[in-house]
Symmetry: C2
Subunit: 72 residues, 2 copies
Amino acid sequence: MLQKKLGQRIADLRRSMKLTQEQFAEKLGCSVEFISLVERGVNAPSVAGLEKFAKVLKVEVRDLFAFEERRR
Amino acid sequence: MLQKKLGQRIADLRRSMKLTQEQFAEKLGCSVEFISLVERGVNAPSVAGLEKFAKVLKVEVRDLFAFEERRR
DNA sequence: AACACCACGCAGCTAAACTACGGGTTCAGC
DNA sequence: GCTGAACCCGTAGTTTAGCTGCGTGGTGTT
């Protein structure tokens, strides 16, 4: 379930950067297929991978999990 | 590098809950050795693992990465 | 028609997540 | 100065899942 939300979040961030999955994959140095898996929540990147994702998306790692309740 | 900080953070949270590594492992349903590896930054838990860690530590997943610069 | 973007299944490799055992250190208390 | 609790750390092993590649097919747009 976490993976699904994480994927959604990543897809949203990618789109907000106006990147296609292919361009995103190139910047990340990984395959397009993997991006697809991650965004659909089938797979989740490793912690090392999260670091790369965050870097390309220009956010902090913890922001990738910022879908959790926006309390306060 | 991320793993090291993550491990530190997890160790801190565990101690603040007054748990030994052994008690922590039991609650998590994993081995003590793995806890040690994670806290020292040798290994990082999978995303599914992060979910469990967060649950036991009673924090959100993103709080596990809340060591990043407290800027602004 | 053709192309861009993406979902999705299948099959595979390999790195790393995770376990088990055993020895060694530090520190507190008795 | 022994004992036990809590932890580090090395080695070696199993299994999972992170990640790739290829191929198909769908939708929308020009």
